[in-house]
């Protein structure tokens, strides 16, 4: 899978599936503990990692467990003991972890978890949407959505860099099947380069029988409030810290990422906003529309938590329409991302009309033509009602 690097080369060009890319990203970060429970479409990731661990490619304890609840609990233990750790899950598995997701951030434990986005039943469905991760938006984790396998690989390295700095866990999303099971050419960084970028995890406090401490024991109301205020403050700073990390990453590896990437938004009147692999589809649609002289652009929402409100307000200032393409819905309100977008723009004097479109759930295919048609019908789109197609 991984080609030979010539001396001095910083990365090798490979052809691999999204799951492989994630596994290689994890391998390069050298976690000391991996604990995970298989679930489609995440299974490949941990299968590949377990084989890497078995081959001794990096020193790591792979803990087999009987549920996602146990997987995340095992990680809580291993991170508490001072070990860089990794887990991955999807859909129902993520839902099962819910309680401990809160605990992880409350305990200020750094962890990187990959979630392969998949619908939640019922009815039973294994295909992509973002209901699983977006319904975990309030658990105190950072959330980053990836467009490509290359981005997934790079994001994992950045996520460890960030998580261990700010002591909050980071969830990295890839689209189930669309990214996890398709191949693309990408660059795999050299291990020494990643080592130079990402220092080993050296926590100030960890489980140590020679220096016993209580972790996350009871906090009385004032202390609890204070601890949560600290998390809020850290979240507030996390965007800038990640931006700094992405700058350093770009300097070393030549690939840059923004929390909110504007694609062909100059002089645009209509801007689509979406995240994940759908961004690629919309890029194609935008290119075609631009060819026909339609003033259309795209905002790729990479960072969902913390939500890049400032960047959004700046980028859509003066724009006529913002069409938010949702792959998750909060029933009774509308698209989950639309709510966030609207809330971010509420205080702005010049804000665009925000159209809330539920573009796909449970793997419903989205073609560029659909996006083009929505753009052509923009004048007719409601601003008060959620739009289903």
């Amino acid at each position: 899978m991984q080609g030979e690097l010539k001396p001095g080369e910083k990365s090798s060009r490979e052809m691999m599936m999204g799951s492989d890319a994630v596994a290689h990203g994890v391998r390069l970060c050298r976690p000391q503990v991996i604990s995970a429970y298989p679930i489609t479409p995440q299974t490949h990731i941990i299968e590949i990692l377990s084989e890497m661990v078995d081959r001794g490619e990096f020193p790591c304890q792979f803990i087999k467990v009987e549920s996602e609840m146990s997987a995340i609990a095992a990680c809580l233990g291993s991170v508490s003991a001072g070990s860089r750790s990794f887990t991955a899950t999807s859909s129902q598995g993520l839902a099962m972890m819910h309680e401990l997701l809160h605990w992880f951030s409350g305990a200020r434990m750094p962890l990187v978890m990959v979630n392969a986005n998949r619908a939640l039943g019922a009815p039973w469905n294994i295909w992509c949407d973002q209901s699983d991760s977006l319904s975990q938006r309030d658990v105190g984790w950072l959330q980053i959505y990836c467009e490509t396998a290359q981005e997934a690989l790079d994001t994992i390295i950045q996520a460890y860099w960030l998580s261990e700095r700010i002591l909050l866990p980071v969830m990295v999303m890839i689209d189930g099947f669309i990214l996890s099971h398709t191949m693309e050419p990408l660059m795999v960084p050299a291990a020494e380069e990643v080592d130079a970028f990402l220092p080993p995890y050296r926590p100030q406090y960890f489980l140590d029988t020679d220096d016993p401490r209580s972790f996350s024991a009871a906090a009385f109301p004032d202390g609890f409030y204070q601890l949560k205020k600290n998390i809020a403050r850290t979240m507030e700073d996390a965007g800038d810290i990640l931006a700094d990390g992405c700058r350093q990453f770009a300097e070393r590896f030549g690939r840059s990422y923004e929390h909110l990437e504007a694609y062909r938004c100059d002089d645009a009147e209509i801007i689509f906003c979406c995240s994940g692999a759908l961004t690629g589809t919309v890029r194609v649609a935008v290119d075609r529309l631009r060819q026909d002289s339609h003033p259309v652009g795209l905002l790729k929402l990479r960072l969902f938590r913390p939500f890049p409100s400032r960047e959004l307000a700046r980028l859509v200032s003066g724009i006529k329409r913002l069409i938010v393409l949702n792959r998750a819905v909060s029933f009774g309100v509308g698209g989950t991302v639309s709510q966030e977008v609207r809330a971010a723009l509420y205080e702005e004097d010049e804000r665009p009309a925000v159209h809330d479109v539920i573009i796909s759930l449970g793997g419903k295919e989205v073609f560029p033509e659909v996006i083009e048609q929505i753009a052509m019908q923009a004048e007719e789109l409601s601003t008060s009602e959620t739009i289903w197609i």
Binding site: Y205, P212, R213, S214, S216, A217, A219, D222, N230
Partner: protein, 541 residues
Amino acid sequence: MQILDIKGKKLPDGLWDFPVSTTTTEINLTGSWKFFRPQLVEKTAPCQVACPLYIDIASYMWELSRRDVAAALARLRRFNPLPAVCGRVCPNFCQQNCNRQDFDQAVQIGFVERFLGDYGLDIPFPAPPALRPERVAVIGSGPAGLACAAFLARQGIRVTIYEKETAPGGLLRYGIPAYRLPREILNREIDNLVNSLPIELCCNREIQLEQLEKILEEYDYVFRAPGLGQSLMPGDFLPQPGIYPGLELLHDIATGGVPAGSSFGVIGGGNVAVDVARSLRRLGKEVQIIYRRTFAEMPAYSDEKKQALEEGVLLCQQQLVTGVVAEDGQLQLILSQVIPDDGSGIKAGEVIDQLKVDGLVVAIGQQAGDDLALNHERLLLGGDLVSGPATVVEAMASGKAAAKTILSRCGLALEDDWEGELPAGEAEVRIVSFADLHLDYCQSQKAISLVEENPTSRQHSFAEVVHSLNDEEAFAEAGRCFNCGICTGCGICWFFCPDLAISLVEGDFGTSVIIDEDHCKGCGLCAASCPRAVIEMKEDV
């Protein structure tokens, strides 16, 4: 982030950056939440219940697996004073009930016992706490007499054993052939017992009725276990040259005798018949066992039956000897077929064959050699005389029972009296079944394979047939024991306890478990993971 300035109590920033503190969570007595309480209740292994001597096998196996041979031997001897003998001749009721046979194969308990017995052949028994004023006479130095003497002497009661033969052992010496119980082993084990405990052995002393009455005057108690030393002979076999009673022939061979002739028939299917047949093979004779039922129905031990065939003993099954005719210094046996038993007993059918032999051995049962009818409240009886033909270990158990009675009359007790000893609060002895065990962390491991002398060399030698285990083999085999029902301090409960409420502590008896009641939430993981069925959950009321 905007911080409002609210008047009143305000916390300084940075006081609690992270939810980590140096205080202990022990003040949170989570144990008060539980409604089930784990309890360590040691139980009884099925092997122990199956053994007539109630040997605490699970415990000595644990000690041996830890290579503490001395402790294992000491424990074994508290239950069985003749382990080198029993480790060879016992049919191992324990092993037949071993829980491990439902997992892979039963532990070779007999061979481990033999290893320990051999280890202790020259190691003296511990001296009794103090010598007692009471004196007991034991008549007969077979397994029952020796056991009774040993259990009494270990408590300081002085014992005199009277034996009519020139050497002690009774059936052990004059009934069981040397290839099953080497004489050197027997001698050393009995010598060690007699020499290290207050036991006096008087051989060549046959006790008749008048002597018995005299002994009863001299001693506080008398235990009499003369055994069943005489073979049963069917009434229609007239005594004639060439016809031998089985037990008497074994006695003769044991003392160096060799019957004349080269071909023998042996009537019977029990252990005596097989012992006779195999002994005669070793003396170079052609031997044919004639048994009225099938090979499978022969009551002799199956290993012995198998080994007999290997050694060239021939078998006429489902045949009866219905006539013996002396002819030219030989015996012509008339063999008849057997009419299947319809409930009224086996009957002879048509004559089907004749067999010419130099000798015919009758081994169809045994009886008492004397008839000393005497009742006395200080005279106790035991061994085969009371039970009928039985195993060595059952005879020893009858000796132990007599010792227990005598001890209790003297105000003493056996050191390990399993019978009647119940765990606190328990209404009955609780035997660990296979289903009670949690063996998820136990790996399959077959029993040690035994090395036997090859059948050809066995035909010319009274050397022991199956080799003993060496140290490593014995430790490994002992390590296969599940130690059903006893806490070995294995630590699996400690590993699984999510509340760190279990501590392993080192004590005089190895590692033991302490449950922190203040913090145990009663989840039951310890009970569900205890391999040995020691921990159980009791409702907390």
